[in-house]
Symmetry: C2
Subunit: 186 residues, 2 copies
DNA sequence: CTTATAAGTGGACACCATGTCCGCATCACT
DNA sequence: AGTGATGCGGACATGGTGTCCACTTATAAG
């Protein structure tokens, strides 16, 4: 069980981190900044969160859980009941929303390889993999990660910030990927 | 023009960096390591290469130039002359080869956002964008980066190292993305 | 209420990578 | 050789990281 002061400090840390991630670039937010802003010592911070990434992951957790819940038990086309292609398109649309709403956070979650090591990626992977299997798509293992790649925070950030594309256009482009589901020849 | 000693040192640096990248993880190769191994001072190293990424980029440069040349002037289906979908598939196959042959290098080239800032990415982008335009695909701007996303080094590394997929299977999965080129409705 | 104990806290500390700076060496050209 | 300019190298300051340990506080038992 968790002690009362520990819980209080955890809340403080998350709140402080959220503010900091919102106001400046992820890599410019230092562990020291977070500790200072939260009013806790360095050791206290490191006790729970070994690095920036784990803090961002914790902050994203609830939003991701929400989407995960809707994927499993929500209404179609996001939830079960719709054809795989439509469910995939709905998933893309929902992910774009998630990325858009929490852009700074998701960028703070230490992009790069570590993205694949989070529990969330495993969930998205299982979901897409299941959709591919349901559609009878050949060789779904390799295709799954191919279809998830455009959702990498850095890709989305590039499209939004550098190219100036709108979420709607990005969603439309992603929707075209559903064409790969057809069981048709290699 | 470049002084003789400068050229000699540049060669030493690149050679040393190639060896180091080959023997340990990119983020564990420090600028100091490279300078030591190359037998040059810190200042000399920083004069040309401001960070690890730029060294890896320089090392990759020749291989990328080779592929770029073949895309522009090579035989079909890689070069001009074949239908866009076939050219895209050939491009994917060539990129997988490049990634496979220089895996450690390409991973050393500082993944994440910086990938988009390299000249090479701009080239791949222009190429794919042109193929989409030639195929009459609607909204090619957003789709271009979507189609290039699976070629991110970290994605490929994950598929190879963690999932244990073969280059052939990855290439096959990428080939399915050519289905998105059809001008057909959104 | 008091006391024991385990958990939690905070900040000082050592470490390491980064990037800069400047006196000196080396090159190219005359 | 002389000369100006370019390149070299390593010492240095800076800043972030992660650890460690003496102290404090919460909780539960007597």
């Amino acid at each position: 069980m968790e002690r009362a002061d520990a819980a209080r400090n955890r809340a403080r840390i998350l709140e402080a981190a959220a503010l900091l991630f919102a106001e400046k670039a992820p890599q410019d937010v230092t562990m020291d900044d977070i500790a200072k802003k939260a009013g806790v010592g360095r050791g206290t911070l490191y006790r729970r969160y070994p690095d920036r990434a784990s803090i961002a992951v914790a902050l994203l957790d609830e939003h991701e859980r929400d989407l995960q819940e809707r994927l499993i038990r929500g209404d179609p086309p996001l939830g079960p009941g719709a054809p795989p292609a439509e469910r995939l398109a709905a998933f893309y649309a929902a992910m774009v929303r998630l990325l858009e709403d929490h852009r700074h956070l998701v960028l703070g979650s230490e992009v790069g390889r570590s993205r694949f090591e989070t529990g969330a990626y495993g969930f998205w992977r299982a979901h897409v993999r299941a959709l591919l299997a349901a559609a009878g798509t050949p060789g779904p293992d390799a295709l799954t990660d191919v279809l998830l790649a455009p959702l990498a925070p850095e890709v989305y950030g590039y499209q939004r910030d550098v190219l100036g594309l709108t979420p709607a256009r990005i969603t439309a482009a992603l929707a075209r990927l559903t064409a790969t589901l057809a069981p048709g020849a290699t």
